[in-house]
């Protein structure tokens, strides 16, 4: 297997994630798109770890999974709070702050 097939694949996944973050209006789905971005990072790290035969990449991927879990917890709490206050999680309605 070539290294670049994984890297290219991760780049595609990353771009899909970025597209999702910008286009989804449902707050929960925006969080899911962010998970796609972090998965793309992990694929990169694992591929480089296997190529370099070095464990740091795998360790970093493990930490990224932990970070993602914490991020989802906090993110969903914010979404719930917004829903409680506004009865909607459409992020395009979140536009009180403008200057």
């Amino acid at each position: 297997m070539f290294l670049n097939q994984f890297l290219l694949f991760a780049a595609v996944l990353f771009s899909i994630g970025v597209y999702g973050v910008l286009t989804r209006r449902n707050g929960v789905l925006v969080l899911m798109s962010i998970e796609l971005i972090l998965n793309a990072v992990n694929i990169n790290l694992i591929a480089f770890a296997a190529y370099n035969q070095d464990l740091s990449g795998q360790v970093f991927a493990l930490f990224i999974i932990a970070v993602a879990a914490a991020e989802v917890g906090v993110g969903l709490a914010i979404v719930l709070l917004i829903y409680r206050n506004r009865r909607s999680i459409d992020i395009t309605e979140q536009n009180a702050l403008r200057g």
């Binding site: 297997m1 070539f2 290294l3 670049n4 097939q5 994984f6 890297l7 290219l8 780049a11 595609v12 996944l13 990353f14 771009s15 899909i16 970025v18 597209y19 999702g20 973050v21 910008l22 286009t23 209006r25 449902n26 929960v28 789905l29 899911m32 998970e35 796609l36 998965n39 992990n42 694929i43 694992i46 480089f48 770890a49 296997a50 190529y51 740091s56 795998q58 360790v59 493990l62 930490f63 999974i65 932990a66 970070v67 993602a68 879990a69 914490a70 989802v72 917890g73 906090v74 969903l76 709490a77 914010i78 719930l80 709070l81 409680r84 206050n85 506004r86 009865r87 999680i89 459409d90």
Partner: protein, 187 residues
């Protein structure tokens, strides 16, 4: 050869799942596409010898995180009222432009040899060895690495999880004041 086939099939599932997440109208469907995507990523980890990470990927992502997503979707009841229309045109344009911009930037890193020539860019020439898979060792080695070289981030992760716990509890805890808050006052 088998590796290439496994890679191809999983890659298609990952990308299909990812497209499901960003395109599907129903949030529950999106969450289930996310599971498919995560599980196929776990397969990709296996063919690169990262067995423990594949396990973590399935348990943490496919298990805990997606269940959390589904739970919140059900809690909010947005599975029934699919009131969120399709994205606005400006959002789609912004999404496509930024997605392509990032893709182009990363591809430039992967396929352009750069001023230093091919020699330095592992992405151009790198090959991952195709060897019989042996899983006896990688948990031991990961553990050894985490408790020696990476002790600091390990401890910092403890702080991170403390924050996530306290933060989620304090934000969502239903205090008396909030429940007495009439909707009209807030807006």
């Amino acid at each position: 050869m088998i590796d290439v086939v496994v890679f191809g099939v999983s890659a298609i599932i990952v990308l299909g799942g990812a497209l499901g997440v960003v395109l599907s109208k129903n949030p529950v469907r999106a969450a289930l596409s996310l599971v498919a995507s995560f599980l196929a990523v776990a397969v990709l980890f296996v063919i690169q010898q990262a067995h423990f990470l594949a396990l973590v990927q399935v348990v943490v992502y496919g298990g805990a995180i997606v269940v959390l997503f589904l739970f919140v979707i059900m809690l909010l009841g947005v599975d029934k009222v699919e009131d969120l229309d399709l994205p606005e045109r400006s959002q789609v344009v912004a999404g496509i432009v930024s997605g392509l911009a990032f893709f182009g930037l990363i591809c430039a890193g992967l396929f352009v040899s750069g001023p230093g020539g091919d020699e330095g860019n592992v992405a151009l020439t790198g090959q991952i060895g195709r060897n019989p898979i042996d899983s006896t060792d990688d948990i031991n080695q990961l553990a050894a690495d985490i408790f020696t070289r990476n002790l600091v981030p390990f401890m910092a992760t403890a702080l991170l999880l403390t924050i996530a716990t306290i933060g989620a509890v304090v934000m969502v805890k239903n205090s008396e004041a909030d429940s007495s808050l009439p909707e009209a006052e807030v807006n």
